[in-house]
């Protein structure tokens, strides 16, 4: 094999030299041979040094490709059972009563404490909450009820009682949820943020009503 590649390289080199001889201006033709014989010392040294240092990569987190092969991005329609998620809903109710301090009673609307309540509601977590779509621009989403399992920037993923996972866009929907005696209406338009970022984001003061 080596001999054939050598002869092939020789051929290629010869053809290049011929090409140069025909195309270079006449007074420079004689220089070609001497020019080709000069060795570039640093060219060889550099390549050797590069081979000595293989770059070691430390991968700590999963890459996107690895996550995809493990199936982190798609949740099949029937993969999550409602019974498993009910437990999450129970823990969520405990969590939300603690966050909103419901034991101490709910403050009057338009008072100072009311603002802090809405703020903490905005910063709370919605995984495991029982959501009902009340209003939506798309009529087929209305009256869908289920427990939220995933909260992305623009969508909620909910599991309904018949074990079906549905994805609901936040922007066009208005949600409702029940906390003991109280009914809370959430405008999905205002919840459009990544769940991890929402806790540090500043809230815009006024709500512009939909037309």
């Amino acid at each position: 094999m080596e001999e054939t590649t050598d002869s092939f390289n020789q051929q290629a080199a010869n053809s290049i030299i011929n090409f140069l001889k025909t195309n270079v201006p006449k007074n420079e033709v004689q220089k070609i041979d001497s020019e080709l014989k000069t060795e570039l010392v640093f060219a060889k040294k550099r390549s050797k040094q590069q081979k000595r240092k293989p770059i070691k990569k430390k991968t700590r987190c999963l890459t996107r490709k690895e996550k995809k092969t493990l199936g982190f991005y798609n949740i099949p329609r029937h993969s999550v059972k409602y019974e498993d998620v009910v437990q999450m809903n129970k823990i969520w109710l405990e969590y939300i009563t603690e966050v909103l301090a419901m034991d101490e009673g709910v403050p009057e609307p338009n008072s100072k404490n009311w603002e802090t309540l809405t703020l903490s509601l905005y910063k709370a977590d919605y995984h495991g909450s029982m959501l009902t779509v009340v209003r939506s621009k798309c009529p087929s989403f209305i009256n869908k009820t289920g427990i939220c399992i995933m909260d992305t920037k623009n969508t909620f993923k909910i599991v309904s009682k018949d074990n079906i996972v549905t994805t609901i866009p936040k922007k066009e929907c208005v949600f409702e949820l029940y906390l003991k005696k109280f009914k809370v209406t959430l405008f999905g338009k205002l919840l459009c943020a990544k769940p991890a970022e929402r806790s540090t984001k500043k809230v815009k003061g006024h709500l512009h009503p939909d037309l």
């Binding site: 700590r60 977590d125 995933m150």
Partner: protein
């Protein structure tokens, strides 16, 4: 009225997500690791430290909760004549080790008694 603690809502959130991540570990590994990932991300975003006891239970690579015989298998190994506990994640295969010598105190400072100054309820 309760005393206000800085970053309290984020701590509560981390606590809640840790709980549901643990609850889902045996049922749905994908969701469990998704919640574990959120725990780490929220702590990053709010510049908070996760308590070492919680942090030890999260897989370094796929961030799912490690529970013995459910999502991980424990081994005790000798490493340079020192004993180490090693957990191997069943989802991604990452190993996680901690020193476990009998006569030594391996607690971090946060876990020791003198670290607790005041308990706020």
């Amino acid at each position: 009225m309760r005393q206000k603690i800085q970053g309290n809502d984020a701590f509560q959130r981390i606590n809640y997500l840790y709980q549901i991540s643990k609850a889902m570990a045996s049922k749905n590994t994908i969701l469990s690791s998704y919640y574990g990932n959120l725990v780490v991300n929220i702590a990053k975003k709010n510049v908070l430290k996760i308590h070492p006891e919680v942090k030890r239970q999260i897989c370094k690579k796929c961030r799912s909760i490690l529970i013995e015989n459910v999502s991980t298998n424990m081994k005790i190994r000798n490493h340079n004549k020192l004993k180490r506990i090693e957990w191997k994640c069943n989802i991604c295969g990452e190993r996680k080790g901690l020193p476990a010598e009998k006569n030594k105190d391996h607690r971090v400072w946060v876990e020791k008694e003198e670290a607790v100054v005041e308990i706020i309820k």
